[in-house]
Amino acid sequence: MNIIDNVLDVYSYNQVIKCLDDVELTWQRSEVLSQETFNEHVKHNLQFVHKIFYEHHIFSPRAFKEILAPIADKIEIRALIKAKLNLKLRAESIIEHGMHTDHDFGSDATTGIYYFNTNNGYTKFEDGTIVESVANRLVLFASDIKHTGTTCTDTQGRYVLNLNFF
């Protein structure tokens, strides 16, 4: 596992946040996980996503260029598998969603989570390791490692970029 803090310089980070906050950036309602994998009651199984890249197609050219590209430029990506923005709104308590992997491509692939904002949510891994949500932090790990995200209670929402690649 590799944790990279201050991935973007201040100017680039602000540009990314500007795009993320833009009212023109649309969000789609989505399950956090399939209900079989989800730890909690179905009423909590809701987040908002913005699909950027999936199956070799760009679904959001603007987010691809203005959000994904500056972050992707900081790491070596041979082939992107998928990328999306996740927004989990604030909850009354911290809820761990459920251990999962993002796909079944195995350990040759890498999963990345970039944290846009600082909050008391976190990513927890199957070995118990916790990576806190710190703005401008990127965590990279082998895609076969199970992990879970959480809600947060101290900000309006928890914003992350989720990417998977070779």
Partner: protein, 178 residues
């Protein structure tokens, strides 16, 4: 059916079924509006038609590169080939896809050897027309250009392409896959 293993050199004739093959031919070979772009260096290395001989060039059409579909033709080609790749290869993602056209020359010319990527991966060369050009892998393996043939190999192994002496041009589509 057993899948092609990484590092194996395998060619498969009649790779596309008839309707797909006609669709691809109509898209590329019989389409005067299919755009191709001059490439003065075939390998992207030191070679150049301005230095090594006027024959030493190619025309290309990038379909997909750096995770970006770059061609309006990408979807048609992707939709035909990707499901087939999933049958023949244990591949999960596309690195690059491009179409090449190599010129006629009075004598057969071989381009410089090169690797597509330094890491081991799947390469797929689809031959669009039959001619006396070929793909050379390493020093000794030659795969002839036969229409509707697919060649799988590892393009981190040095390889090269050629011109043709018995057709107006030599066309293929190259894919790099992980």
């Amino acid at each position: 059916m057993e899948q092609v293993k990484l590092g194996e050199v395998v060619s498969i004739d009649n790779f596309l079924d008839n309707s797909e093959w006609i669709q691809i031919k109509n898209l590329v070979l019989y389409n005067p509006d299919f755009p191709l772009y001059f490439q003065q260096s075939v390998t992207g290395l030191e070679d150049s038609c301005f230095k090594d001989g006027f024959w030493n060039y190619a025309l290309k059409h990038i379909l997909y590169q750096n995770n970006i579909p770059l061609s309006p033709k990408f979807d048609i080609i992707y939709d035909i080939f990707w499901p087939k790749f999933k049958i023949f290869l244990d591949c999960k993602s596309l690195v690059r896809a491009k179409l090449n056209m190599f010129p006629y020359t009075p004598e057969l010319k071989e381009y410089d050897q090169h690797v597509d990527q330094k890491y081991q991966h799947f390469g797929a060369v689809f031959y669009l027309n039959t001619c006396d050009g070929f793909t050379r892998i390493g020093e000794n393996t030659k795969v002839d250009s036969i229409e509707n043939r697919m060649l799988f190999f590892d393009p981190s192994v040095p390889h090269n392409s050629t011109t043709t002496t018995n057709a107006p041009a030599r066309y293929n589509i190259n894919f790099n896959l992980l």
